[in-house]
Symmetry: C2
Subunit: 333 residues, 2 copies
DNA sequence: TTGTAGGCGTTATCAG
DNA sequence: CTGATAACGCCTACAA
């Protein structure tokens, strides 16, 4: 049973707890050489490891941050978490990962729990349903960063993809290939999720800017499992879409499912661009043109901002950090 | 600034700290109705949340478990983590996720850190390099569960896929389709990772059992980026393999890359089965035959075992919990 | 039924 | 240079 405390070390080394504590915290400025050695020896023999919980209690800091993911089913989310973890590891922070499943109640429960555990800050993919809670936290000046989604009512730094740009990239690519009947299909927009909405807006705006017609029937945000059906409806029109933008990875797969079931040929029967660079994009037939998000940068930046903030750095409120999507031109469009 | 403690609540309610503590822990057996009410009110007005860190210090338990993932780049790992998180959430545990990147030093650092943070137990995808450390932990009777990989020297419950069975399933499927020149290609086996080795063993054994020839040249475990090259070597043989088993998701994509670059047709030029049911399997051309692991069950079981163990349940040492793979027959074989 | 006192393992303050 | 001593916020006997 490991229960060797600082007191044991102190006794064994014949010094006081305080001295050991000093030693542990690298404050050896005025410490005698032999004292150091004795302590080091004692620590070694006893296999002493400081109890971080006790330290946290005293210092009111846990070197742990909470990450609340909206929905871990998206490849995008896991990539972000990966990247956050990487940065945190380098900074000696730990992350507690929570999956809110787009459920505001779960989200709230997690936030409360995380705070009770005294995590030093939170990175969240926020649902728009806990505005009050978030606002409360920011008022308390609690370190927090939003990622992927933006909550206008709350003054918090947000790491965002330039979603309109992403849509624009796609539309322009469609135009370049001469498609004029285009659409966008994404997962449900019921819960006002920023990226989905912005992508749709960007899509429409770009079409307007380019003086192209917007067909409302080709613009849909529905549950994943409804996507094939929804696409079916579009394709049955007398003038079906020639090109579709998939709003995210899950939508893309759902669309491909429809394509396969109906023996369509890409891009002849339907051109396709997906937002999120899925791992199989380059091995698919045909290779899939995608718009990729700099997930690594985004995650790293989120962690970096949060940790700097925790360490006391001021930061401009309400900042929105925008990240550029990039078009990866392959063969599906 | 949230710094409302149990003392504040006690004062406000006009009772003592202990009474509030009782209340918080549902021990209201002998508590006066009005006392309860007053406390509830005070808690509410003050927005009191107990400090879990302080509680942990006292109770020596943190309702948090550590999850050390060997390499989060595998879809398999993230699925497992997801499932563990889900079970833990239901049991009111939190998970701290650590990515060891198949690096024993990182793994060791994480284990130390997790213990210092007093996590109640650990679920690990172990590297085989920290045997001593793991053994130490089990000797201390520290709650721990291994997943995906097995370390024979350490007596710890392990959640494993029946890897030999997985290979067998594939070989038999190959046989059924009349392929006799078959091979297996997986990511590096340098570091003695159980599943990869067992899959290869299972592959060879099944071939033997079925009285089929084993061509050593068609059996390889190399770094992912070497896989296309390695496959190339096989295909250049006078009698190249007719069917290949991909050891995991990353290998599968690497193989598909080769296939695409060389304009091979699946399954005519090369039949393919992949272990791990990747999300695009059913939309690929042709649809990919895969062998899927019950990741959800495996993750849940790991969490369940660990938490039961933490809560004091005895469990048979050295148990190996085996999970059955299933063949999902599609069109690539 | 409720209150008092002491301790969990660290760190911070301030003497010595 | 080192050591008492008092917190940190909570829980748990034991007392009242």
């Amino acid at each position: 049973m490991r229960t060797v405390t600082i007191t044991d070390v102190a006794e064994k080394a014949g010094v006081s707890k305080s001295t050991v504590s000093q030693y542990m915290n690298q404050r050896y400025e005025y410490m005698g050489e032999k004292t150091k050695e004795r302590i080091a020896e004692a620590i070694d023999e006893l296999g002493y490891q400081p109890n971080i919980v006790a330290r946290s209690l005293k210092q009111k800091t846990s070197t742990t941050i909470g990450v609340i993911v909206a929905n871990i089913a998206h490849e995008f989310s896991t990539q972000i978490v990966r990247s956050i973890e990487e940065y945190c590891n380098a900074s000696n922070y730990h992350i507690i990962v929570c999956n809110a499943e787009d459920n505001p109640e779960k989200e709230k429960k997690y936030i409360d729990m995380l705070r009770a555990k005294q995590v030093d800050g939170i990175i969240a993919f926020p649902t728009s349903m806990n505005v009050d809670l978030y606002r409360e936290l920011t008022l308390e000046n609690y370190p927090m960063i939003f990622i992927d989604r933006h909550v206008p009512e709350v003054e918090v730094g947000s790491i965002m993809l330039d979603n309109k740009k992403a849509a624009q990239l796609a539309v322009d690519e469609f135009i370049e290939h001469g498609y004029s009947r285009t659409g966008i299909l994404t997962t449900s927009i019921q819960n006002h999720v920023t990226p989905r909405i912005e992508r749709i807006e960007g899509f429409i705006e770009t079409l307007h800017d380019r003086d192209l017609p917007v067909n409302e029937q080709f613009i849909r945000g529905v549950e994943v499992d409804q996507i094939p059906k929804e696409l079916g409806k579009m394709m049955e029109q007398p003038e079906p879409p020639e090109a579709i933008l998939a709003g995210n990875d899950l939508s893309l797969i759902a669309i491909l499912k429809y394509v396969k079931e109906n023996n369509l040929t890409i891009p002849e029967d339907l051109a396709l661009i997906g937002i999120d660079d899925v791992p199989f994009a380059s091995v698919y037939y045909p290779e899939l043109t995608t718009i990729s998000q700099p997930t690594t940068d985004m995650g790293r930046r989120a962690a970096e901002l949060l940790i700097n903030r925790i360490k006391g750095e001021k930061q401009s409120e309400q900042a929105r950090y925008s990240f550029e999507p990039t078009l990866i031109r392959r063969a599906s469009c």
